[in-house]
């Protein structure tokens, strides 16, 4: 019987982990410099954290990994974290509410069932949450942070698409639908059904004139939104605050020279979004997204605290980022071969080389010398050290480890730098 990998899971090979850590490193570095602090929440959470209206859509809940824990006789289930934001909001309510503003980030895996098993069911996210601030400036900060990370990953051709959950909700409320129907259609939009709005908008012929232009809205400037505002101001005053919020955001982005595309009907995202929704695309592939979720923390039993956040999809970035473009030249690799009588000296020599910034591997009888820039024989008799340049086929003898290091520095400069 062959050992099998669980369906819908993936292993990350050493090469893939190199990419993973590079992206994670850039993400962490940017977040820390912008004043965000890292958190880590548990893999297991209670299911009820995700079930209320305003958290996850039923379409997403159907794909949650839930089960009864060993003490789950009450019938309440636990889940493998299906989302990164809700646990962070829970953590904030749990222990950080007194702090007011919290700028947090995380690198976490989320679990979403996918029926074919061809896509991975465990996905990695780099997420940032800005809790306790509610201005359009906060949303812009998150957009700019996300874009900076992608820029530092040397990813080009990033497209920013904007939608607005408040605007969608307020429009749906004008369509004469029941609250259940409104939620259902909102959920379908968030789950990516771009036709959802088209299917309902004709049920109220009176709104036929104004709403389609709003819902099919695509544009690239705040002026576009301002015209719309003027058009709607008489018929739909309820939409005003959301349009104003949206205009403020786009004006700020405009001032920062940031390109974007407004596309209201493609508001794919989470049910907890209440304001701007932003999505990051490279070609047709979505590589991240975020939005404002002012109602989530009060809904979960916390204070009335606004928040917004985003996540970048690590698995997708891994296939896009070229490590050569990012990586510093790797440290030189030295294979240390000690004679049986000089094992102790061999280990201390390897330690010394590592301290000096080299990768020093101890010879275990199986490594190929050709995989290394250098080999270093450590002996109990003179000469104590024999250093061989595997690339240029040169041989150096040395009496002390300091001499070895001097040779490495002098002769190894053309092989890449020391880490």
């Amino acid at each position: 019987m062959r050992v099998q990998r669980c369906k819908g899971t993936r292993d990350l090979s050493p090469e893939e982990m190199t990419r993973f850590r590079l992206i994670e490193g850039v993400f962490r570095d940017c977040c820390l410099k912008w004043g965000y602090r890292e958190v880590r929440t548990p893999t297991l959470e209670y299911l009820h954290l995700f079930t209320s209206t305003g958290t996850l859509t039923p379409g997403r809940l159907d794909k949650v990994y839930s089960f009864l824990d060993w003490d789950g006789w009450s019938g309440e289930r636990v889940v493998l974290r299906p989302d990164g934001t809700i646990p962070v909001a829970r953590l904030y309510i749990d222990s950080m509410e007194g702090e007011g503003l919290a700028k947090l980030f995380y690198v976490a895996n989320v679990f979403i069932f996918e029926a074919t098993g061809k896509k991975t069911r465990e996905r990695w996210q780099c997420g940032a949450e800005l809790i306790g601030a509610g201005s359009p400036l906060t949303d812009v900060e998150l957009v700019m942070l996300a874009l900076e990370i992608l820029k530092r990953l040397k990813l080009e051709g990033i497209e920013l698409r904007l939608s607005h959950a408040g605007l969608i909700r307020a429009s749906l409320a004008k369509l004469g639908l029941s609250p259940e129907e409104q939620t259902t259609i909102f959920d379908r939009i968030l789950d990516g059904d771009t036709e959802a709005l088209a299917k309902v908008k004709f049920r109220r012929p009176k709104l036929k004139e104004t709403l389609p232009s709003l819902l099919d809205l695509k544009g690239k400037s705040p002026g576009f939104l301002r015209n719309l505002k003027a058009q709607l101001s008489q018929d739909l005053p309820e939409l005003q605050p959301h349009i104003d919020d949206f205009i403020n955001l786009t004006e700020l982005l405009e001032a920062l020279g940031c390109d974007y595309q407004i596309d209201i009907a493609s508001g794919r995202g989470f049910e907890y979004y209440t304001g701007v929704i932003f999505q990051l695309f490279r070609g047709e592939e979505k590589i991240g997204g975020g939005g404002r979720y002012d109602a989530l923390i009060p809904l979960m039993g916390g204070k009335d605290i606004p928040a917004s956040g985003f996540a970048l999809y690590l698995d997708r970035l891994m296939s896009l980022v070229k490590p050569e473009a990012l990586a510093k030249p790797l440290a030189q690799r030295i294979l240390v071969r000690a004679q049986p009588a000089a094992v102790k000296e061999g280990f201390s020599t390897a330690d010394y080389l590592r301290e000096a910034g080299y990768v020093a591997e101890f010879y275990l009888g199986t490594q190929e010398q050709a995989d290394f820039e250098w080999t270093l024989a450590v002996k109990s008799k003179q000469p104590l050290f024999i250093l061989t340049d595997q690339v240029k086929r040169r041989r150096f003898e040395a009496q002390t480890i300091k001499e070895v290091l001097a040779v490495l520095r002098e002769k190894g400069g053309d092989k890449g730098s020391v880490a």
Binding site: S52, D62, W70, D71, G75
Partner: protein
């Protein structure tokens, strides 16, 4: 190529047998009094059928043990609610065995609506034989917080004390008799023909399907289901309310669970020996709330299988169930507060590991060796899924799968399972089915069980103590 069919016993047996008779299958021995589970067709020599509990049939067809099956759509939807991508195809509505699944609440609490359930503070408890459907109902309704109590049966007796909602197969009229009112109709049920997806794609079942198609077409069953009507809770005639002991505070009243089924007469015998009188137990009319002369005690009759979980949740203080079902519960929830109070020494059975007589294995070590040489998982069938799982784990049976069954597990060997974890009194049924016992896990008798959680009411504590003592004396006399 052999075609295997899973046929229902119980509720759907009569009409299914009649349908297949009209289809000319010539099934041998598929009738109410059949003692064996296997049957052959006189018309289709390559067709063999086996009789199952209805609930087992979608699972057996989905995993490919059977190519075709007939069962109620309730059990199909229950499976698909959790496993939408399973290899199960619905081939057609057979137009009989009709009924409905209702989500219902107690009428004594006033009429409940979906909106009230959603607005309810705290946890909404739903009791059901259909836990997967109950969970999707709760998720789709966006209930903020809920608990599902999976049941073996008698869901209708749970509201209002032991659950807020019951999801049960019923009619609106029956619900009224139980003192319940429908909150929502979940599903219209009727008998369906189902097929395994792989079999459907790879096997020639044309003749068999044609025989059924003929029957259905010639009878031209109207496929459109009549729009179900059920009395809304406001217009329904008021039924006499269930009487609760209202003169006493609820926290002082002892909730006692008594078993239904074949445990009833030995339980009744013991109780009368103890001088405890119970009215209408066992009940010919199906009353599940008998009364007693014990003061401050309320009784409900439920399935013994469901008792440990109910005691763990504080819905009952005392219950009479088998030790087997207590162990089943504790293996799933090791830190559960349920505890053994008194061995009633009734209904002794052994829990045993059983294989086919044709298997050259004498004990579990032999089975382990045999399984190590096989490339396919060992199929372990049992009503006791947690006991079976633990047994397979503890004995390092390697690659195995537990197949849940709902009774008559001995029918699963040898074709549909390799190992059975089963209870037996005499071993005669096992021998009759050409099976053998290779291991005994433990012995089980009826026990009085309770909770180790502290009871705040001293009156209730005294009452429980007194019942235990009364029963202890009766057991010693027996």
């Amino acid at each position: 190529m052999e075609i295997k069919v899973a046929l229902p016993k119980g509720r759907l047996l009569g009409e299914t047998a009649a349908l297949l008779r009209r289809a000319g299958w010539g099934l041998i021995g598929y009738h109410e009094r059949a003692r064996f589970y296997h049957t052959k067709s006189r018309r289709f020599p390559n067709l063999s059928a086996k009789v199952f509990h209805e609930k087992d049939i979608p699972i057996q067809v989905a995993i490919g043990n059977y190519d075709l099956g007939i069962c109620g759509s309730d059990w199909i939807e229950e499976l698909l609610a959790k496993y939408p991508s399973s290899g199960l195809l619905k081939e057609g509505n057979l137009g009989y065995g009709e009924g409905a699944l209702y989500m219902a609440a107690s009428r004594s609490e006033g009429a409940a609506t979906v909106e009230e359930m959603r607005a309810k503070p705290g946890i909404v408890r739903i009791a059901s034989e259909y836990p997967n459907l109950a969970e999707s109902f709760a998720l789709n309704l966006r209930l903020r917080r809920f608990s599902i109590f999976p049941l073996w049966g008698a869901a209708e007796v749970y509201p209002p004390e032991s659950a807020d909602l019951a999801l049960a197969f019923s009619t609106a009229e029956e619900l009224l008799q139980y003192g319940l009112a429908p909150v929502s109709k979940i599903l219209s049920v009727s008998a369906f023909l189902i097929a395994n997806r792989n079999s459907w794609e790879s096997k020639d079942m044309g003749e068999v399907m044609a025989s059924l198609q003929d029957v259905l077409i010639s009878e031209s069953v109207p496929r459109k289901l009549a729009k179900e009507k059920y009395p809304s809770s406001t217009t329904a005639p008021r039924m006499p309310e269930i009487q609760y002991l209202s003169e006493e505070p609820a926290e002082d009243i002892v909730q006692l669970a008594l078993p239904d089924g074949h445990q009833q007469s030995p339980t009744l015998h013991l109780l009368s020996k103890a001088g405890i009188h119970i009215d209408d137990y066992p009940s010919a009319a199906g009353n599940r709330r008998p009364t007693t002369d014990l003061s401050g005690v309320t009784i409900k009759v439920i399935r013994p299988q469901d008792m440990p979980l109910q005691v763990a949740n504080g819905n009952f203080d005392l219950a009479i169930t088998g030790r087997d079902w207590l162990m089943e519960h504790l293996y799933q929830f090791p830190s559960s507060p349920v505890t053994e109070l008194l061995d009633l020494k009734l209904g002794k059975v052994k829990i045993v590991a059983v294989v086919s007589k044709d298997l050259s294995v004498a004990d579990v070590h032999g089975l382990r060796q045999l399984n190590a040489e096989r490339a396919v998982p060992l199929r372990v069938a049992s009503e006791y899924i947690n006991i079976a799982d633990k047994y397979a784990r503890d004995n390092h049976l390697g690659l195995y799968r537990v197949v849940p069954t709902w009774g008559a597990s001995e029918a699963f060997l040898p074709e549909d399972a390799d190992l059975l974890i089963e209870n037996t009194q005499t071993g005669r049924t096992i021998a009759r089915h050409n099976l053998k016992i290779i291991d005994t896990l433990f012995a089980s008798t009826a026990w009085l069980i309770g909770s180790s959680n502290r009871i705040s009411s001293s009156i209730k504590r005294e009452r429980i103590k007194s019942i235990i003592e009364t029963l202890r004396r009766a057991v010693e006399e027996l």
